[in-house]
């Protein structure tokens, strides 16, 4: 009997196979290297979205805001639709929805499995890595919640077809994840014997918590946030203490000259550009240098290619480059791209009226008739919503070759010896998502004092203000952080969006190179009407997901009807 029993158990083991060639979730992650790969996989989602930036929250937020129009060619209907808050093509934002949830899945996996790995050099290192996963999950949900409002809240790597969570639940989770990240990550900056640059740290999480808290409490008019346990609250005072810690102890600082933050001051370009020539400027990121003001940025590399992913390059710079159809020397120093997000003339006008001596205006916006005398309007004779103003800060930047007459498509081709690539792949300077100036302004806004705002003003060479006012703070945020993705959520949370957005109406533009106005009959009733119809500027959930959910997911208000459809500018 015993012999036969042994025989049967022997059979079972014989039939089981072990995976000898691939890793699977039964044997991964186990070591420190595995853990580092899992974390890299979560960050990688930032690049995934850069491969199709036009569907992302950051891009739509820029175009929908009152500082920029849609732009692009007459076939780039998505760009114009995002400016007008209308729909174009079925499941318009499916790519971003799908990409971000992939990032969330990886973050969930990391949170669940990193604690089981062995080989960490210290307990601090383990907590740092898990903290980073919580940060990224919160960041990804921040974007989904700001974009779509009602999203299914998936916090496990075994997902289910869940109904959409309420904003209170989603934002509660976001704020809770950031609080966990702050508590887990030790108070250490990247550097030798610690994480490399590009990793977030405790203070980045504090800054992000400020941003998330301000949006949630402002937009939804709440005084505090309740965490998923149902009882713990995060209050204004809690957030103030985090932000104070960030301002006082993080080691981040303002770069002394505002212009040095932007790529047009790079060493390959600056002496050929009249605005920067001879001014003793030095770009903070020249030759991979560390930007002391950058707290969270997307990193790019020379691995961008059609066979890997173009997301390893800065797709936002490409999309918002000057619409082409002319030689690079005519648009120098600005590189070319698809012409998305032309600057709305009302931004320049408001800025010049409110703060006439602000050097940041010319440092952020190129007034094309002055700076680019040989510029040809119209792009490839199809440019829609073109204006005389171009966003310099995050633009692609070119540089002259050694012959002095022809240009590199982007300066990175020269600086990083990256010349064998197409201009669509060669923008690889960082995309900064959170910088220290934003933290100072958030500090002023939360505490209603002028300490932070005056530091920002002093850096811009502007006189200090005596007393805090919401108006002063709001304007300061608009000027300091223009084109950095914050304006859209700011005007929504201050409930000034409808009045701000209609300032774009009838602004002078060019249609296919001919003078026109920013007005179209295919606008679903106009900026204010669309903002209201969408309950505050929320975008449509992809229909494909709604039908796959078999009725569990519901579309947002203001979408799915024929008046929400954008059919073209004329």
């Amino acid at each position: 009997m015993a012999a036969t029993a042994v025989l049967f158990t022997g059979c079972e083991n014989f039939l089981d196979t072990q995976n000898l060639t691939e890793k699977d979730t039964s044997n991964y992650p186990q070591t420190l290297t595995d853990a580092e790969q899992v974390v890299a996989g979560v960050y990688n989602n930032l690049n995934t979205v850069c491969a199709n930036p036009q569907y992302s929250f950051l891009y739509a937020a820029e175009l929908a805001s009152d500082d920029r129009l849609g732009g692009g060619g007459e076939n780039d209907k998505l760009m114009q639709a995002e400016d007008l808050m209308m729909n174009y093509s079925s499941s318009m934002l499916e790519q971003f929805w799908s990409d971000r949830y992939a990032g969330i899945f990886r973050a969930n996996t990391a949170i669940e499995t990193l604690g089981n790995c062995s080989g960490y050099e210290s307990d601090d290192q383990k907590k740092q890595m898990i903290g980073e996963a919580y940060f990224l999950r919160a960041f990804y949900y921040y974007e989904l919640a700001s974009f779509f409002e009602n999203v299914p809240l998936i916090t496990s790597s075994s997902p289910e077809n869940k109904t959409q969570a309420t904003p209170d639940q989603t934002w509660g989770q976001i704020i809770s994840d950031l609080k966990t990240a702050i508590e887990l990550m030790p108070a250490k900056k990247f550097g030798s014997n610690w994480v490399e640059a590009g990793h977030v740290d405790k203070w980045t999480a504090e800054a992000m918590l400020g941003r998330a808290f301000l949006f949630y409490t402002g937009f939804y008019q709440k005084s505090d946030a309740t965490l998923p346990d149902g009882t713990t609250k995060v209050t204004n005072d809690n957030v103030i203490s985090y932000i104070d810690d960030c301002v006082n102890n993080s080691g981040y600082s303002l770069v002394p000259d505002f212009r040095n933050l932007w790529a047009y001051t790079n060493r390959c370009t600056k002496e050929n550009y009249s605005y920067t020539k001879g001014k003793g400027l030095k770009w903070v990121e020249d030759d991979n240098a560390v930007n002391p003001e950058s707290m969270f940025a997307i990193k790019f590399s020379k691995f961008a290619s059609w066979s890997t992913t173009i997301g390893y390059s800065n797709g936002y710079a490409l999309h918002m480059g000057i619409r082409g159809g002319q030689t690079l020397s005519k648009t120098f120093p600005f590189g070319q791209g698809w012409g998305a997000g032309p600057v709305a003339p009302n931004l320049w006008k408001d800025w010049a009226a409110a703060e006439p001596n602000d050097m940041r205006r010319e440092a952020s916006i190129c007034y094309i008739p002055n700076e680019l005398p040989n510029y040809t309007k119209g792009g490839w004779t199809d440019f829609v919503q073109e204006t005389d103003y171009f966003a310099k800060k995050t633009a692609p930047i070119s540089s002259y070759k050694s012959d002095g007459t022809t240009c590199w498509e982007t300066f990175e081709q020269d600086m990083y010896d990256y010349s064998t690539v197409n201009f669509q792949l060669s923008n690889i300077h960082d995309l900064v998502l959170i910088r220290f100036a934003d933290v100072l302004l958030m500090q002023s806004e939360l505490k209603k004092d002028v300490s932070g705002i005056n530091k920002v003003r002093a850096r811009a060479g502007l006189p200090a203000i005596a007393g805090y006012s919401d108006n002063a703070l709001r304007n300061e945020r608009r000027w300091e952080l223009c084109f950095e993705g914050t304006r859209w959520n700011d005007i929504r949370r201050w409930h000034i969006a409808e009045t701000a957005l209609v300032e774009q109406d009838n602004q002078p533009t060019y249609y296919k190179g001919v003078a026109d106005k920013n007005a179209t009959t295919h606008n679903g009733g106009g900026y204010a009407a669309r903002y209201k119809a969408t309950n505050g500027g929320f975008f449509p959930i992809p229909e494909k997901e709604i039908s796959l959910s078999n009725g569990v997911l519901k579309q947002n208000s203001g979408w799915g009807t024929s008046d929400a459809e954008y059919s073209g500018w004329k």
Partner: protein
């Protein structure tokens, strides 16, 4: 299992009745699908360290695990008979079959919020029923002339009988016919697998009065700003709106109802002539050879002359517009054609010189010419009606012609020498 019964009669030389039932399995999917495999592909890395020349490899689970995945089973019941008549000159073979494929291994689309690749599941059942009839006549006239005619005819009906999700549908993917187009094929309970799914159309609006009359009759219009030259999408449920759930329907079936094989052979003295042909009937093909976002300079086939460009110029193909257009991006029967064909696949004509020179050292010295794919009898407007392509993502889709290289016509000359 087989049952044989041979019978000898005067007019019937041979009769055998057969019945069989069998079961086989298929597990032809990647290994370890009951777990989640981990991927380290070159799109999953991140560049830390302010270094544009280096990356840290990223690792992530690239599918959700399915611990319940199991073999796909096929059960086939076959009843048939073989008979020979008239001194075995006439051969008849007939089979009726019913083949059920259970626990079909398929990757069903899942919600994007699940965050990673869909697992293989046992997604449904498919039934194929039909009959096959083979007839052959081999005879000779006189001493020197022999001939044979062999045909086989098959009828098959394919139907999905179960899909393992609440909807009863596995959706096809978008962007198959061209970038930006809607889903065009599906697997659905009660329908052939991979049937074409889209709007029906009723021609083209020729002028504004047409549009107004259409609207007045209570029909919905898909285009938000309809112009003459736009497609009349049919409002199936006549509710005044064109919505994909209610107005899209079955617009074609890529599976043939009948397939036919034909072989003719003739031999006279040293000459031989063989003709082989095959055909398929009753299937539809979805065809498009262009991208749908039109600009000022494009490459078109002569099909584009059939577009609408003024009142009365076309009732088939809509107007061209700059950029993308609802007329093209919504899959409809303007792309669907009947794909019936009979292709003469091989004609070979040869002569064996042994007959002329019986004393030569070879046992056969035959010279032949062959024409392959000499001509195809079909009304299909595309290049080749034999299309297996289904978009690439789902192996169960077929019949989509996006311009694949057709079977070439080939002429061969050859010599057979036997020692």
């Amino acid at each position: 299992m087989k049952v044989l019964w041979n019978q000898h009669e005067n007019w019937m030389d041979f009769l055998k009745l057969r019945a069989s039932w069998g079961q086989n399995g298929n597990c032809n999917i990647s290994n370890f699908q009951y777990l989640a495999t981990v991927s380290f592909d070159n799109t999953a890395a991140y560049s830390f360290g302010n270094n544009k020349d280096s990356q840290t490899t990223g690792g992530y689970a690239n599918i959700l695990p399915n611990p319940n995945v199991k073999w796909e089973t096929s059960e086939q019941l076959d009843l048939g008979l073989d008979a020979r008549f008239l001194n075995s000159r006439l051969n008849v073979a007939f089979d009726w079959y019913n083949k059920k494929t259970k626990n079909w291994l398929v990757k069903a689309p899942q919600l994007a919020s699940y965050g990673t690749g869909a697992p293989y599941i046992n997604g449904g059942d498919v039934v194929n029923k039909g009959f096959e009839l083979a007839l052959g006549w081999n005879d000779h006239i006189g001493k020197d002339f022999t001939y044979g005619v062999n045909t086989n005819l098959a009828y098959n009906k394919n139907k999905v009988t179960r899909i393992a999700n609440s909807e009863g549908i596995i959706h096809g993917v978008e962007n198959v016919l061209s970038q930006g187009t809607t889903e065009m094929y599906r697997a659905q309970v009660g329908k052939p697998i991979g049937y074409f799914y889209g709007y029906k159309t009723a021609g083209i609006f020729q002028n504004q009065a047409d549009i107004d009359a259409w609207r007045k009759a209570g029909n919905g219009i898909l285009q938000s700003n309809p112009q003459p030259g736009d497609v009349k999408f049919v409002d199936l449920n006549h509710d005044g709106k064109i919505t994909s759930d209610e107005d899209k329907t079955d617009i074609g079936n890529p599976h043939p109802d009948f397939t036919l094989g034909l072989g003719l052979s003739f031999a006279y003295k040293g000459f031989d002539l063989n003709i082989a042909a095959h055909g398929a009937f009753g299937q539809q093909i979805a065809k498009s050879y262009r991208k749908f976002v039109d600009g000022r300079h494009e490459n078109y086939t002569t099909d584009v002359y059939e577009r609408w460009h003024g009142e009365g110029t076309s009732n088939k193909m809509p107007r061209l517009t700059a950029g993308s257009n609802a007329n093209y991006q919504n899959i409809s029967d303007i792309y669907i054609e009947n794909g019936d064909y009979l292709k003469v696949q091989n004609i070979t004509f040869g002569y064996d010189f042994k007959k002329l020179f019986p004393k030569m050292c070879f046992s056969q010295a035959r010279l032949f010419v062959t024409a392959e794919n000499l001509f195809t009898i079909t009304s299909y407007s595309g290049m080749d009606p034999e299309i297996g392509y289904g978009g690439g993502t789902h192996t169960w889709a077929s019949g989509i012609d996006i311009g694949f290289y057709p079977s070439p016509r080939t002429y061969l000359v050859g010599v057979n020498l036997k020692f």
